[in-house]
Point group: C2
Chain length 215, copies 2
């Protein structure tokens, strides 16, 4: 078995679906968690800047497989999902998994703007502007895409008739939105979906034991 | 052979690497090009809004394969690259191709901010601010990543010892930057690389015949 080391921050974020893939596959990995606070824009510590210099793209997560560094969260997740059997069952399913993940990343950028404005304590009016003009339109489009997808797919998963890494990525992001009070009862089907993924036997122990974190 | 239809705008943008993959594989496809102007923010035409409603994610490109719609440019390119043999030769090469493409998309967002500000004729001071604060830092990081990659890989391609869809995507974006005067002589190695990819015999005819476009 290869030697796996995941380097990310002490948050869920883009690293959590990667951790979950290892748990689903019952495959050991080294889970290195650096302080998220150390890299916030304008608050970067010398320790972080030193680490950053050595990273392939200056960012985390990075997965190291027998000494080979692989950057970019979706590239890492897809690599493991293919190895472990969660990438989709046909080329068309794989393409749809990829499409959903990329769409979710587009939305994540809009959500990230709101998270950073909040964490960096921007003036309330500015946070409000980001919420109204960037976050809400992005979220509404994204939720409508997800709801349509779940309605049209009777399996209860986003693609095909089984779990894929798109489900891991989407469910964890929905969990974050719930925690921020941004996923309400009017989207009950999305809350149900998130709970269904979180209740998977292979994930439950990991999810119960993982450190609490708002992002 | 499946029936392929690509719907995109009358620009290169995120659709051009998809078109190039078809040409590389000598595989016919229907190349539908809608007016890019019709969807500019604040200038959307009723025709575009009608088309947008019917798209899986409300955006283009969409590839239709025997009636199945696949959205998201990277998902489409990867799907075809795997079919046609340009996705990388090992799982690790595939992951690096994916990582480079995602990093290039992160930079493309920063470039896009500048393109839209210019096309929508923002006030000069605002364009300048986007250029200095968003575009230039993003470009400098991206160029340093590319230069390092090309120096460390003796094949002249970004990943492994042959052409991948990462090369198509990166080379076309570099061509756009050249056209905008944003890729200068100090990055001669990137200009050389772009010319090398554009000179591939399977691409030359397509590139010579395609409509001129700044993006």
């Amino acid at each position: 078995m290869p030697d796996y080391k995941l380097t990310y921050f002490d948050i869920r974020g883009f690293g959590e679906p990667i951790r979950q893939l290892f748990h689903l596959a019952n495959t050991p990995f080294e889970d290195i968690r650096l302080p998220f606070q150390d890299q916030l824009p304008g608050k970067q510590t010398p320790q972080w800047l030193e680490i950053k210099k050595a990273l392939p793209f200056g960012r985390l997560p990075v997965l190291t497989v027998d000494g080979l560094d692989i950057p970019q969260s979706a590239a890492i997740s897809r690599y493991l999902a293919k190895k472990f059997g969660f990438a989709g069952k046909t080329p068309e399913e794989e393409a749809w998994v990829d499409a959903i993940v990329d769409q979710s990343k587009d939305f994540a950028e809009q959500f990230r703007a709101l998270i950073y404005a909040t964490k960096l304590e921007f003036p309330e009016a500015e946070i409000q502007k980001i919420r109204e003009e960037t976050f809400i339109p992005g979220r509404d489009l994204w939720f409508s895409i997800l709801a349509r997808r779940l309605t049209s797919n009777p399996s209860g998963f986003l693609v095909g008739n089984g779990l894929t890494w798109a489900d891991l990525s989407v469910a964890d992001n929905l969990y974050t939105l719930e925690g921020w009070g941004l996923l309400g009862k009017e989207h009950g089907e999305l809350i149900e979906y998130r709970k269904r993924i979180y209740a998977l036997p292979e994930l439950r122990e990991h999810i119960e034991k993982r450190p609490e974190c708002s992002v």
